[in-house]
């Protein structure tokens, strides 16, 4: 048990501290960093999906006035570490996917760099590429583990036997599409290599973690941490794609090192982000459910097939939520990968949970249909008393309460009959559950100093638009027992103590815990009347850590969908979510995380789809005109509510993390609502009108 902080600043609806600067445009993002006399870099990308670079002719590019440097696989510096093939930029002639970096041009202006990059002639020996994901491939393999260190496969009991003997057995295949994170701010870096300086390399990089970013860059370039500084006060979104540095960061550093003393700016274009900045793998999910007539599950299983790049493995943990979500004596989860000639997949908001709560949550709806049960009741009937995976008690689990409160707020009981028609529109409602593990990272340190009557806390944390600039002062204020206006928190710079990545919805849990330890240290050393310059630090690993409970946030999402009876167009006028995520530190920034997550879930349900073209070997619709993200006109009434949940086990704030759970389950709820409206069950995302037309009369 942890002593929860007495919430005074915590829980207050404070406006963003960085809001004014952002609205006024004075908040500087990586590419805009004011530097003296910058040069501009533009990448050259492979135009074959697999093969070898046989020759690079840079003469036309170099002949242009104002071109400063052209780097190719044969002229680029040799990197200290090439273990990570994604980051082994320009180290080999081999091309592992279309769009891979094969060169870079640095010039006086960005236009010139782009023009010169077009003039670099690359000759290839092209090989047959293979980029089609399917369950029938004979080269599917089991990775050693899946993302976040989870086991690849788990099994308990005998799913096959349970399926054979159950009153109702359901076996279905679902698929989610390939998705690209597409933050508004592109991946961008301003890099300065000044060999004579005390800190020779400075990267103003758009990153979800300056310290992890620096660690990777140091490893790849063979530099000491004290030789590199990474700065990132503001991020225009990342959703995971800026959680680990991608090839563009290494390229920017290499370009700067080729031009000592001159800052070099590199921003990926939107098109380039479709091959260089990570993405969510498409998934194929074979789901099995067995139940008795009352809806009690006797088996639940998910067998996942997904892809990774041949040059680097990333295994999304899609099957993981099925391990703990519902009670069932027989259970199985597996992950199989195809290693293809495709770009390298990576983190995207709620890796694992987001795709993994699609198939099973639709399958439950199909089961409810077969049993003639209310899908809310079906979920409640399968509520596990303890974590089915570990047998541990829950630190707190209020899924049932979320379902009930959501149903009540949404008006679920009065929902229209199947295929209800309102004018030209068919109307239906649907539900699905949400879940996200409560995490805390092992490393993070906060330093608190007293200066001029104020407390200044420093920690190299990140605010990727989530509200960290605002919420960390709330935590620090309560930990110190002072007014929030007396606290300043500084983040986004490796000059500040080490902090973990903003990922896994763990940021506040981790950095807040370090702040609480530091505040305790500070008060222990200096009491309540400190003097100027008094300073203390605290590490997250000194915070109380509970090992005895399974800690997760839960939620329930309700959707009203309307389908045009003539054209099959889908509109979603209502999305309502109720979440149980521990204590909410700031309702204002929390609400935008929930609403943003749910909207992104809607986008996944109806619109987003990186259309993979296996003939060309790239994403066909690689810009925001063709890669559709839900727009305002698609978004109706989106409501996020939360329970007042008190969890004494997770951390001193009582917080569970809220950045990702909003996107979990939404797409399933939409599919379930569309089914209720039309009778058509769409098992392959996105739900586009062509999949509904044949079912409309």
């Amino acid at each position: 048990m942890t002593d929860l902080l007495e919430p005074r600043a915590i829980g207050r609806d404070l406006a963003r501290r960085d809001g004014v600067a952002k609205v006024r445009g004075t908040a500087t993002y990586a590419f805009e960093t004011p530097v003296e006399h910058p040069a501009y870099a533009h990448p050259v990308q492979a135009t074959v999906a697999r093969g070898r670079v046989t020759a690079v002719d840079t003469s036309a590019a170099e002949a242009l006035d104002g071109v400063l440097v052209v780097l190719t696989p044969s002229t680029a510096e040799r990197l200290a570490s090439t273990d990570d093939a994604e980051l082994a930029v320009l180290q080999t002639d081999e091309v592992g996917f279309r769009g891979q970096l094969v060169g870079v041009v640095v010039a006086e202006t960005s236009e010139l760099a782009r023009q010169a990059a077009d003039l670099v002639r690359v000759a290839y020996e092209e090989r047959q590429h293979d980029s089609v994901l399917s369950v029938d491939r004979d080269d599917l393999y089991a990775p050693e583990q899946v993302n976040a260190g989870h086991e690849t496969d788990t099994a308990e009991g005998d799913v096959g036997a349970a399926m054979a003997s159950a009153a109702v057995a359901l076996e279905r295949t679902y698929s989610t599409a390939m998705y690209h994170n597409n933050p508004l701010e592109p991946h961008a870096t301003t890099a300065l290599w000044d060999p004579a300086a005390e800190v020779p390399l400075t990267l103003w990089d758009s990153t979800q973690g300056v310290h992890p970013d620096r660690a990777t860059v140091c490893r790849v370039l063979g530099l000491e941490e004290r030789q590199v500084r990474v700065v990132c006060p503001y991020i225009g979104g990342g959703f995971g794609s800026k959680g680990t540095p991608h090839a563009n960061v290494v390229l920017a550093a290499m370009a700067a090192r080729a031009l000592p003393g001159r800052p070099v700016k590199l921003a990926l274009t939107r098109q380039q982000m479709f091959s260089l900045a990570g993405y969510r793998t498409p998934t194929i999910q074979q789901v099995q459910l067995a139940a008795d007539r009352s809806g009690r599950l006797s088996a639940i299983a998910i067998d996942v097939v997904e892809q990774t790049s041949r040059i680097k493995e990333f295994a999304e943990q899609t099957g993981v939520p099925t391990r703990m979500m519902y009670a069932s004596p027989n259970r199985r989860t597996t992950h199989r990968l195809a290693a293809l000639d495709v770009p390298v997949p990576s983190w995207m908001r709620a890796p694992g949970e987001c795709p993994g709560m699609f198939g099973p949550e639709v399958a439950l709806d199909e089961l409810a249909d077969e049993l003639g049960l209310d899908p809310v009741d079906l979920r409640i009937r399968n509520e596990p008393e303890v974590d089915p995976e570990t047998g541990k008690p829950w630190s707190s689990r209020h899924l049932v309460e979320c379902l009930r409160e959501g149903a009540q707020r949404f008006g679920w009981a009065d929902r229209p009959a199947p295929r209800h028609r309102d004018g030209a529109w068919l109307v239906g409602t649907g539900v699905a559950s949400s879940v996200y593990p409560t995490m805390r990272q092992a490393t993070s340190t906060a330093r608190i100093r007293y200066a001029d009557g104020r407390y200044v806390a420093e920690i190299g944390a990140a605010d990727l638009g989530t509200g960290t600039w605002t919420t960390l002062p709330q935590v620090a204020a309560d930990a110190l027992g002072v007014d929030v206006d007396d606290v300043e928190v500084r983040i986004g710079d490796t000059e500040y103590p080490i902090a973990s990545v903003a990922g896994g919805s763990s940021g506040l849990n981790t950095w807040g815990s370090a702040l609480v330890v530091a505040a305790r240290e500070f008060r222990g050393k200096f009491g309540r009347r400190p003097e100027d310059g008094d300073e203390a630090t605290g590490d997250v690993d000194q915070a109380a850590q509970d090992e005895d409970h399974a800690a997760y946030a839960f939620g329930a999402q309700f959707v009203e969908a309307r389908v045009h009876a003539d054209t099959g167009e889908v509109r979603v006028p209502r999305l309502l979510g109720v979440f149980a995520c521990g204590r909410i530190v700031n309702p204002r920034t929390a609400r935008s995380q929930f609403v943003g997550g749910m909207t992104m879930g809607l986008s996944m349900a109806l619109h987003e789809n990186s259309v993979w073209d296996p003939q060309v070997g790239q994403v066909a619709n690689h810009d925001l005109a063709e890669y559709h993200v839900t727009v305002n006109a698609d978004v109706g009434d989106v409501q996020a509510h939360w329970l007042d949940e008190h969890d004494p086990y997770v951390n001193a704030m009582g917080s569970k993390g809220i950045g990702e759970i909003g996107i979990v389950g939404t797409a399933a709820a939409v599919v379930n609502a569309v089914h209720r409206a039309t009778g058509v069950r769409v098992r392959d995302l996105p739900v586009t009108l062509d999949k509904l037309l044949t079912g409309l009369d």
Partner: protein
């Protein structure tokens, strides 16, 4: 981006002369399409001649009761014009269904019908495309065909390596309405002025997919004329797309219905998103001429129109869904127009 010279001459005549004199010259209007293409390397002109402030921005009444839209009038201005909204709702609706407010404030009457296809391969210079790079082949065959043509394409599956292969669609909404309105295009070229019926402005790929229209190099659109519609005519535009706004049409329908007498009416139908040009559904119009506009009659008419339609196989099932979708959308659009006429 390739460097180019930029010119803003003093008159339309000079602009035409400048472009005619330079083989790699283009006109620039709002730039919402051309500037993207300059950045992507899809357009690689040596000279860009800005006509935005040279052609007329006026929307003026014509003696026959029609309207003249100056080439520089913006899509927003035309959509908001009271005369357009009252007399040609199909045009106002088509414009408002296109792009976004910001784009419509910049896009022009002259530029909109001349915007180029959104085919993803046309826009990506690293892939083969006969329209962008004649003779290089067509990457869309068996590829991403969701936004591609089903009408005006060869009966057999096109050959990806043949130089004439192109299944691109014309993306403009405005142009579909103009086709249904029998607009006239006023053109000034090196050889003087000429008028082109809108239906003849755009072409099918034929043996030269690189050419979208019949305009010759150096020919400038100066205005579009809208002839008056018969008394009592009703018109509407219906666009079906993958999201509620800011998306190109999967299919669209521009329809004009005039009641000729009890149980008889004349219909004009133009279809968007389905062919290399805005597709005037003349066969369907013929079938419907003089008869009652019942849903069965409309379905039969569309069956005749779509008899030669060719779905293009491709990723995610290709674009065969457009064929039933077209019929359903036409039926719904005419149903609403007829109900409104009653």
């Amino acid at each position: 981006m390739k460097p180019f010279a930029y010119a803003r001459p003093g008159s339309v005549a000079e602009a035409v002369r400048d472009v005619a004199a330079e083989p790699a010259a283009v006109f620039l209007a709002g730039g919402t399409n051309l500037v993207d293409h300059l950045k992507l390397g899809v357009a690689r002109p040596d000279l860009v001649v800005d006509v935005r402030t040279l052609t007329s921005r006026e929307i003026s009444d014509l003696p026959d009761g029609g309207l003249r839209l100056g080439a520089a009038s913006t899509n927003s201005e035309v959509a908001a014009d009271r005369r357009v909204r009252e007399r040609y709702p199909v045009l106002a609706e088509a414009l408002l269904a296109g792009a976004t407010g910001q784009l419509r404030n910049t896009a022009t009457t002259g530029g909109n019908p001349l915007q180029r296809t959104r085919c993803v391969y046309f826009q990506d210079v690293t892939t083969a495309c006969n329209k962008r790079d004649p003779g290089s082949g067509c990457s869309a065959v068996g590829g991403y065909t969701r936004h591609h043509a089903v009408l005006g394409v060869p009966a057999a599956l096109p050959d990806p390596t043949a130089p004439e292969t192109c299944t691109a669609t014309h993306p403009s909404d405005m142009a579909v309405a103009l086709a249904a309105l029998d607009a006239q295009v006023q053109v000034l070229g090196p050889a003087g002025e000429r008028t082109i019926p809108f239906a003849d402005l755009h072409r099918l790929p034929g043996d030269d997919p690189s050419r979208d229209t019949v305009l010759e190099h150096g020919e400038l659109i100066t205005a579009l004329d809208l002839p008056p519609l018969p008394a009592g005519a009703r018109s509407a535009y219906r666009k079906v797309r993958d999201r509620a706004s800011y998306a190109f049409a999967l299919v669209s329908v521009a329809a004009v219905v005039t009641a000729d007498g009890p149980g008889s009416s004349t219909v004009r139908i133009a279809l968007g998103g389905v062919a290399h040009k805005p597709w005037r559904a003349t066969r369907a119009e013929q079938v419907l001429r003089g008869g009652p506009l019942t849903e069965d009659a409309v379905r039969a008419a569309m069956a005749a129109e779509l008899a030669a339609a060719q779905p293009q196989p491709g990723i995610d099932g290709g674009n065969g869904f457009k064929i039933p979708l077209l019929t359903r959308t036409v039926v719904a659009t005419l149903r609403e127009l007829v109900e409104a006429t009653r």
